[in-house]
């Protein structure tokens, strides 16, 4: 039971690869940390694993099978900037339930209040929006969660709140999490295993 990326290479130009022969494997129920510098291609790898980017070489599979291109993707990606992840013309309750009806349990554990539902995204702070983004990504069919610097823009208390909630939920639902961050302290605190991006990506950066 694992999400696998095998021999993935990606580049906008042929002679200038961002990812070269990267392989990574994430088991269900695992919390895997990926540490790397900004601009090193971590985000691109995340996008490839979650099916956002299709022009790459290599193979992404779940339990050996290709990830379906249509329908709900069992691999969900959450970004660093929650304000970009929500349509500014939608109300919060529509944003939350876009993929599936998110259960009350998840709302409770994320501390999402009912009176936020009728608000517009610009009325909420980054921390509150990120809770919505995460709750939305944790629909019943989600098996793997890719968290690309999801608390980098948040204060320490909100960061601790969010990670404690996410870790509880993924443990209960046996979801695999890839924690991508440049913060070693955070990764060491919450991850079972740690991978250094520069060790798996065979590209030299200046």
């Amino acid at each position: 039971m694992s999400l696998k990326g095998e021999n993935i290479s990606f580049g906008y130009k042929k002679n200038n690869l961002i990812l070269n022969n990267v392989s990574i494997s994430l088991d269900r129920g695992d919390v895997l940390g990926l540490i790397g510098d900004s601009g090193s291609g971590k985000s691109t790898l995340c996008k490839i694993l979650a099916g956002y980017e299709n022009n790459y070489q290599g193979k992404v599979s779940i339990d050996g099978k290709e990830v379906p291109k249509k329908g709900y993707n069992p691999v969900q990606l959450v970004f660093q900037h929650p304000e970009k992840s929500v349509n500014p013309k939608w109300k919060m309750k529509d944003i939350l339930n876009e993929g599936s009806n998110i259960s009350q349990d998840i709302l409770d554990s994320f501390g999402i209040k009912k009176n936020w539902f009728n608000r517009w995204p610009n009325e909420l702070s980054g921390g509150e929006l990120q809770r919505f983004s995460l709750a939305r990504a944790l629909g019943p069919e989600t098996r793997y969660l890719i968290a690309d610097e999801i608390t980098t823009m948040l204060d320490a208390i909100t960061q601790a709140q969010i990670w404690n909630m996410v870790l509880d939920i993924v443990k209960e639902r046996n979801i695999g999490v890839l924690v991508v961050s440049h913060e070693k302290n955070l990764i060491e605190k919450i991850c079972h295993k740690v991978v250094y991006f520069k060790d798996i990506n065979n590209v030299k950066h200046y």
């Binding site: 993707n73 939305r136 629909g139």
Partner: protein, 285 residues
């Protein structure tokens, strides 16, 4: 204390906040245009009697715009002409807007469809505007129908370009990708995510298309390729009056021309104020 504090210096306009002012201007201008259209509907040929006893009168209290060589009241003729122009402009702009929405959504459907739309825009733009209107208008046998279709089928290009650029930019947004990953179809994303962003643009674009449509209709008619000479159009009035200008009957061209200008500027004013209302930057002033 807020509302009171804002409204302290209450004079005619100063006391109102921007939104109130804008709405007031919008209301007044729309009323003016509507009044022109409605009043033109009540003018038929009977209210334009030919009276050779009072032909070519210069502007007076009885005939503020003067009378023409058949003794008809120019104010009445101008009103009738403007009403017709606005209706034609409205139809042409609406058809253009519908075309824009269809082509816009089509261009968001996929790469091939998008290239097709881009090609269609370039093709239409490559032929001079007025020439194309004249060609289509003549091809369709002239008259109101020809002019409307001619104007409508040439004015969608710039708005479509804007809409297409907007769609391109929207499609790079994270929330669009997320929506796809949550299992939503292209059509669902186009109507639920993209369309709400386009509506203000299209509404504004349509209103700003009005003056163009009206002016083009008038100029095509003026050149003799548009509405037939017995229609009470502004273009007809202007081209007729050209013949009398040298005789010193300046009012025949001046007042209808000025009225046309005012109508066009009124539409611009509406567009500008609607834009202010919709622009998030000064949404709270």
């Amino acid at each position: 204390m807020s509302t009171a504090a804002v409204n302290v210096n209450r004079s005619l306009f100063k006391g109102l906040n921007l939104r109130q002012k804008t709405l007031l201007i919008l209301g007044l201008t729309s009323f003016l245009l509507l009044a022109i259209v409605v009043s033109s509907l009540f003018i038929d040929n009977e209210s334009l009697p030919t009276d050779f006893g009072s032909k070519n009168l210069s502007p007076s209290l009885e005939h503020p715009f003067g009378t023409d060589w058949m003794g008809r009241d120019m104010l009445t003729r101008t009103l009738k002409g403007l009403g017709l122009s606005i209706v034609i402009g409205a139809l042409a702009s609406l058809i253009s807007a519908v075309l824009t929405v269809i082509l816009g959504l089509l261009s968001s459907a996929g790469k091939a469809a998008d290239s097709f739309v881009a090609w269609l825009v370039d093709l239409t733009l490559s032929i001079p505007h007025l020439l194309l209107i004249i060609l289509i208008s003549i091809g369709l046998g002239g008259g109101a129908q020809g002019v409307i279709i001619g104007v409508a089928s040439t004015h969608w290009t710039s708005l479509t370009r804007i809409v297409r650029a907007e769609i391109k930019q929207l499609k790079t947004q994270d929330y669009i990708h997320i929506s796809r990953n949550l299992g939503k179809s292209k059509w669902w994303i186009a109507t639920k995510h993209i369309l709400p962003h386009l509506i203000p643009q299209i509404l504004l674009g349509t209103i700003l298309m009005f003056p163009h449509a009206i002016l083009h209709e008038a100029s095509v008619t003026f050149l003799g390729f548009g509405l037939s000479p017995h229609e009470p159009a502004i273009g007809i009035i202007l081209s007729e009056s050209m013949r009398y200008l040298s005789a010193g009957y300046w009012w025949l061209a001046f007042f209808p021309g000025l009225s046309l200008l005012i109508v066009v500027l009124t539409f611009d004013l509406i567009g500008e104020n609607l834009g202010k209302l919709m622009d998030p930057k000064n949404a709270h002033e």
